[in-house]
C-alpha cells in the first residue's frame, strides 16, 4: 500500500492541494460551497480540460502543441456556418472532425515527419489557424445556433441539473486514461518520450505515433468546440483565444514531464480540478484578473520547484545518455 503512495507522490500532493483549495475557496466566499454552484461552474473546466488531455499525449512524446485553441476556434466557426446553412448536426460534426484531423495532421507532418521544432511550428500554426478562424467566422459573433447544436453544451439531467458536458468530460478522462495507460499506442508514447532512438531501432514508427497524438488532440479540440458553442451560444474568430497558458499549466502541474516520458492521467485530472477550484473561488470573491494570474503563475513556478525536489517534471534527473540538447526535437 505504502509503495503505491510513494510512486504516486505527485498525484497525492495535487489531491491534497485540491482539498486545500476547496477549503480556501469556502472561506473566501459563502457562495462557494453550494452544490448547484459547484456543478454549474465546473462546466468551465470541460473544454479546456479536454484540450489538456489531448495535449498530455503530445507532451508525453516530448513534443508540444500551442495551436489547439485555434483549432477549436476554426471548429466553432465552422459549426456556425453549418448551423446557418441548416446542415443536420451529424453532418456538421463530421465536417469539423475531418477539418480538425486535417489541422492536426498538418502539425504532425511538420513536427514528426519534417522534424521541425514543435514549439516554433505550433506557434506558427496557432496564428495561422486563428487567422483561418477569423476568415471563416469574422468578428461577428454568430449566435443563432440551432437547438440541436447547442444541446451538448447546455443540457442538464435530473432535478439536480447536472450538466451533460460533465459526463462527456468524465468519458474523455476514461478514454484518454485507457489510451495512455492500457494501450499499445500509449505505451509507445511513453517510450518515445523516454528514448526515441531506441523506439525507432525497435521498428516502431515514431512518426506515425506522433502524428497520431496530434490528430487525437485536434479531435479533442473539435469536441471542445461542440461543447463550447452549447456553453456560450456564440461563435467568433477569437473563441478560446489565450487559453493555451491555462491548458499547459494544468498539464505540467499534473505531473507530466514537459520533456516527455512521464505522467499520469490522474495527475492531469486532479490538476484540472485544482485549477478550476482556485479560479471558481477567486472569481466568487471578486478577486481581480491580475491577482488571479499572479496566483496561478506562482503556482506554476512552485509546481516546477516541487517537481525538482521530487525528481519529476522539468528538472527530472535523467541518465546522462538520455539528456537532450534540443528538447523539442526527437
Amino acid at each position: 500500500m505504502k509503495s503505491i503512495f510513494r510512486s504516486h507522490r505527485w498525484e497525492l500532493s495535487i489531491a491534497i492541494m485540491v482539498v486545500l483549495a476547496g477549503v480556501w475557496a469556502t472561506t473566501l466566499s459563502p457562495y462557494y460551497l453550494n452544490g448547484q454552484q459547484l456543478l454549474y461552474s465546473s462546466r468551465n473546466l470541460v473544454f479546456t480540460g479536454i484540450m489538456g488531455l489531448g495535449l498530455t499525449l503530445i507532451i508525453l512524446t516530448g513534443e508540444m502543441d500551442l495551436s489547439l485553441p485555434s483549432t477549436l476556434a476554426v471548429c466553432t466557426v465552422l459549426l456556425a456556418k453549418s448551423s446557418a446553412a441548416h446542415l443536420p448536426l451529424g453532418l456538421a460534426l463530421a465536417l469539423i472532425a475531418a477539418v480538425a484531423l486535417a489541422l492536426g495532421a498538418f502539425n504532425g507532418f511538420l513536427v514528426a515527419k519534417l522534424r521541425l521544432p514543435a514549439l516554433a511550428v505550433t506557434l506558427g500554426t496557432s496564428g495561422a489557424y486563428r487567422g483561418l478562424a477569423f476568415i471563416i467566422g469574422s468578428e461577428t459573433g454568430y449566435t443563432g445556433f440551432d437547438g440541436t447544436y447547442k444541446w451538448l453544451g447546455s443540457a442538464t439531467v435530473g432535478s439536480a441539473a447536472v450538466p451533460v458536458m460533465l459526463f462527456v468530460f468524465i468519458a474523455a478522462v476514461v478514454v484518454f486514461g485507457v489510451i495512455m495507460h492500457f494501450s499499445t499506442f500509449g505505451r509507445r508514447c511513453f517510450a518515445i518520450g523516454n528514448n526515441p532512438m531506441a523506439v525507432t531501432y525497435s521498428g516502431i514508427s515514431v512518426v506515425r505515433t506522433k502524428m497520431g497524438t496530434y490528430m487525437i488532440a485536434a479531435l479533442g479540440a473539435a469536441l471542445g468546440a461542440w461543447i463550447f458553442i452549447g456553453q456560450y451560444g456564440s461563435a467568433r474568430g477569437d473563441n478560446a483565444d489565450g487559453v493555451i497558458l491555462g491548458v499547459i499549466t494544468s498539464v505540467v502541474l499534473g505531473g507530466v514531464d514537459i520533456n516527455g516520458g512521464r505522467g499520469t492521467v490522474l495527475g492531469v485530472l486532479l490538476s484540472i480540478i485544482f485549477l478550476e477550484t482556485l479560479r471558481n473561488g477567486m472569481g466568487l470573491a471578486n478577486i481581480s484578473g491580475s491577482i488571479q494570474q499572479l496566483i496561478i503563475g506562482a503556482l506554476l513556478v512552485s509546481g516546477v520547484l516541487i517537481s525538482n525536489f521530487s525528481g519529476r517534471g522539468i528538472f527530472a534527473i535523467r541518465p546522462r545518455k538520455q539528456a537532450k540538447a534540443r528538447p523539442w526535437a526527437s
Partner: protein
Amino acid sequence: MKRGIALFIVLVVLAGSAFAAPAKKYRIFMNPKFTGLSYFEICAEGAKEAAKELGVDFVYTGSEQADVQLQVQSLENIVAQRPDAIIVSAIDLNAVAPPLVRARAMGIKVVSYDADTAMNARDFFCNQMSYEGVARAMLDCALADSPQGGEIAFIAASPTSPNHMAHIRIMTELCKTDPKYKVFKPVATQFAGDDEAKSIDVATNLMQAYPNLKVIISSSAVSAPAAARAIEIVGKVGKVFATGVALPSSIRSYLKDGSEKAFFIWDPAKLGYMSVYVAKAALDGTLVNKVGTKVSCGKLGEFTVGKDGEIVYGRPLIFTPENIDQYNF
C-alpha cells in the same frame, strides 16, 4: 523542504484572499465591458457616489480584457453571489444573455448601461444618449472639422455592439435625408474592438484605401483618439480629421494643437450615477417598465422611461479647443 514549499504555496494563495471583497444588504454589482478603460472607471466613480448616497453596497468587478468569454464568466461569478441587482455594459449583446436571463429568473434586477444586452436579458437600459442624438452630435462635430463635407468613414467596436451599429445606421441615413448633412458621403465601416493599436491600424488603412477621406468618425472612445494619432503618424493633419466619442483627457492635446476641432461625449460619471439610481428604483418597485414612467436620480433630476425599457440620459458635451480646459476627466 518540500513541506516548506507546500506551506509557501498555501501562504501565497491565502495572501490572495486579502483582496477578496466583503458584502451585505442591497448589493449592486457593476460589470463593465472590461475594467482597463478609464471611461468605465469614471462610470464606476459616479456609480460609487450614487451608492453612497443611497446606502447600498456596491461592487465594481469585471475582466481586464475585452473578451466575450471572460465577460460571460465574470457575469456567472457575479450571479453565483446572488446580488440584488447587476449593472452591465455588454461586449456582445447575445453572448451575455444566458447568465443574465438566469439572474432575472432568480429575481435579480438587471440594468444595462452604455452598451445594451439582448432585450430579454435586462429590465432597463440606461442609454447615454438616444442613438439618433449621438449620430447627430457626431455629424455636427464632423461638420465643425470639415464644413464643406466630403467622404467619411466609421469605426465601431464590433458588429455586435448595438449602440455603435445603430449610430452608423442612423448617420448613414441622415447623410442621405437631412439637408444639413448631405455634404457627407459615407464610404466605409471598420471594426477595431475597442483596442487602441488596432484602431490606429484601421484608421491608417482607411486613409490609404480612400485617399479623399475627410473625416473618420468613431463611436468608440478608444478609437477616436487613436484615429487622431494615426492621422498624425501618417502626416495628414489638416487634410483628414478624426472625431467621435472621446474622453476629454485623451483628445486634449489634439484640440490644443489644432489638429482636431471637435469631439463629444456625455459625462460617464453621471451615467454611472444614474444607473445605480435606476437599479435601486427597480429594486424598490417604484420603477416599472411602462412608457412615460418617471424615475428620480438624485442630483441629476428626473428621467422618463421610453420604449422597451430604455431610459435616455441625453446630455451631450461637445469639446472644442475653447472649452476643453473646463473638463478634467
